[in-house]
């Protein structure tokens, strides 16, 4: 059996719509029988945050960052027409009507399809995010691990 094809996606953005696009491609690629990696860095890490507050020890700055950033996929804003948080409500209403999956479920489906979700540890430190605050069953790595996947990648995207 020949080697499976690979898709890698860097999710840098913390926008709901861009994260949706990333996860739709990730799920599609998994259905295409690719080995898929989604590498989350900077604002993209917020998509992996647990929705509930997790009790962890933090400094003042880290706490502030934690409060200012969206806690989890459903709290992300839109890249356009965010209208102070009204935009996401509107788009979720429309998505429901068209039976498009919300981001949380797209991430769950990706995990079911064995898409490898990776959190960049360097930017986790910068933003003051700890492992306990992120979803279970994800990997932690840096740029070299990403490049290991990407250099064999047939589809490599930066979103």
């Amino acid at each position: 059996m020949a080697k499976r094809k690979k898709t890698t996606i860097v999710l840098f953005s913390g926008d709901y719509d861009k994260a949706m696009a990333a996860y739709i491609i990730a799920n599609g690629a998994a259905a295409y029988d690719h080995e898929v990696t989604v590498f989350h860095t900077f604002w993209g890490l917020n998509a992996l945050r647990k929705a509930n507050q997790v009790d962890v020890k933090k400094g003042v700055l880290e706490k502030l960052f934690g409060k200012m950033m969206p806690r989890g996929a459903e709290k992300l804003g839109l890249s356009k027409m965010n209208v102070a948080g009204f935009g996401p409500k509107l788009i979720k209403h429309v998505m429901k009507k068209h039976q498009a999956l919300p981001l949380t479920q797209l991430i769950e489906t990706a995990q079911e399809q064995e898409v490898k979700l990776v959190a960049c540890t360097m930017t986790m430190d910068l933003l003051g995010l700890q492992e306990k605050e992120l979803l279970d069953g994800i990997d932690y790595a840096g740029v070299a691990a990403y490049l290991g996947d990407a250099s064999e990648g047939n589809v490599n995207l930066f979103i």
Partner: protein, 83 residues
């Protein structure tokens, strides 16, 4: 007339779920068997054609009935399957 061995209902579902579910259903099918996929997503036909070709299966065709598309795919025998 094509007789399906299994029917998959993805009516109402939006991208990427029809193809995700098709992949799962095909895995459970024996080689040579035919899957009927009932869908309402307009873009799914192109998706399915590309996917079946990539996976080495056979796209048999589509019938439209009252805005529901019925797509027929035959699973490749083990030898034919790509990879």
């Amino acid at each position: 007339m094509i007789t399906a061995d299994k029917v998959l209902n993805v009516k109402g579902l939006a991208c990427p779920m029809p193809i995700v579910k098709t992949k799962k259903a095909m895995e459970e099918l024996f080689p040579g068997k035919i899957l009927e996929i009932q869908a309402t997503d307009r873009g799914f036909k192109a998706d399915l054609e590309a996917w079946t070709e990539n996976a080495g299966h056979q796209f048999l065709g589509t019938i439209e009935e009252n805005s529901v598309w019925k797509h027929y795919v035959q699973k490749a025998s083990d030898v034919e399957e790509k990879q």
